[in-house]
Symmetry: C2
Subunit: 277 residues, 2 copies
């Protein structure tokens, strides 16, 4: 998907919501456990109910790999289901991969060909040649970890060079943004550090930011929009648990839709305030 | 596996060789393509032929995920095959995972329970809480990326803090070595930078180092042993392509065994020189 199509989808749905399909079989309604593939049944219903409000879905591979080969099949079916229901939706495989060049090339094939995701999250530690193979696919995106939403972000991402006058995460943003145009790369920047988005917008004004941590992890949507939005919106805000586990009974999909709709409406308001719609 | 058992295996086999099972279906002998699971057939024969010379095997998950759910099954069968043939072998899932805490916990289940690996390679970028969940399993190991063997290692791993007077990779080694004793954590330190091992040994004297990059990537075994060995050996040196693709015909397994034996004999010499055997 190119960046203009993504932007058009945001305007059409009045939403920059990404829904994290972090589906834990231990947390889904019990009655679904009778299905042949309970996680897929759950995902299907969540997707069908929330599609009007989301421009992107983001299955995290850990939640599928934990079930071995069956989990991988579930992931494949989930992505195919989204594609079938709405080909305009942006699908992110949240896999945080990254390896030496020839190995990253295989991950690229795994996620962009075998699974047909639009984007893959990638860890930056191994540098440029670990990221470039993912950029060889036209219309596919790298979403590089920059500033994550977890407490451990403090450990290394804020490592500071006095000479360069920057933290590691700034170095990552500035270096990596020269590897690909804004239409091929996004950055993960956690909502739990929304005030940092002002600086981040100076360094990468045109790139999209994938922002996790709104809701369960404590980030504020309003602050994220205030500091992070650019003229093409430039934001995908992810919510996982707050949407998919909004309900625990037979009406779980309806509850998820209500939670997604609530976020979409807040997003619509932000898009209007910025004159984007 | 505990550290003393690993050390005993090294003394018994007179080897600190880890064989990387980076099996690309495009590179295996053509006649194997008729098998139901060609990659597994290849792995089985490589394992059977090289077991006398190796203390560890390291399948890289990219080479399996590229084949989707079937690839995951191949990976599972490969690990089970090693376990059955020699329960004393150390099995490393080279997956370079790492995510927020509750997600890393699922990766830990995927690799330590579903797949029964002894160790998992982990990327450090997300910090402490992304690594700790992997340490909750007794007798299982984290192998953290510190200084990798690829060119991109220069991009961020050498990011330097004048105040702390250290590069990022030193920071990672020193911080992370306080998270777990040497019997639970190793570090990836590439052989292409063997001269750095002198410093690394000052910072983490007792931890094992997993050293890729000998052979195909240009690192020297002798230098790695000279600068990196400690009194418990403290090294697992990985070779992938140089062993598994040593031959391309029906005798490929014999050729792989010869290549592995060659490395084992060089290792035996190093172990003798250091008085370890």
């Amino acid at each position: 998907m190119d960046i203009d199509t993504l932007f058009n989808n945001i305007r059409r749905k009045k939403s920059f919501l990404c829904i994290g399909l972090d589906t834990d079989i231990k947390k889904i309604p019990h009655y679904l456990l009778e299905a042949k593939d309970p996680v897929f049944e759950f995902n299907k219903r969540i997707i069908d109910a929330t599609l009007p409000y989301a421009v992107a879905y983001k299955p995290n591979t850990a939640f599928y790999e934990v079930n071995g080969e069956a989990g991988w099949r579930t992931l494949q079916k989930t992505i195919a289901w989204i594609r079938e229901k709405d080909p305009s939706v942006f699908i992110i495989a949240d896999a945080k991969r990254g390896d030496i060049g020839n190995t990253s090339r295989l991950y690229a094939r795994a996620f962009f060909e075998t699974l047909d995701a639009d984007a893959l999250t990638v860890a930056p530690y191994m540098g440029r040649d670990s990221v470039l193979p993912f950029l060889e696919y036209e219309d596919k995106w790298v979403i590089l970890l920059a500033l994550t939403s977890n407490p451990g972000a403090e450990d290394f991402q804020f490592f500071y060079s006095e000479k360069e006058q920057k933290h590691l995460y700034q170095k990552v943003l500035q270096e990596a943004s020269s590897w690909a145009p804004p239409g091929r790369m996004m950055f993960v920047t956690g909502a739990t550090r929304a005030e940092k988005l002002t600086d981040i917008r100076k360094w990468v004004p045109r790139h999209f930011l994938l922002v996790p941590g709104v809701g369960a992890q404590g980030g504020s949507l309003e602050e994220v929009a205030r500091y992070g939005m650019n003229e093409q919106c430039g934001l995908l805000v992810n919510s996982s648990r707050g949407i998919i586990y909004a309900g625990h009974e037979k009406d779980f999909a309806m509850k998820a839709a209500a939670a997604a709709r609530d976020l979409q409406q807040q997003m619509e308001q932000q898009l209007r305030q910025k004159g984007i719609i």
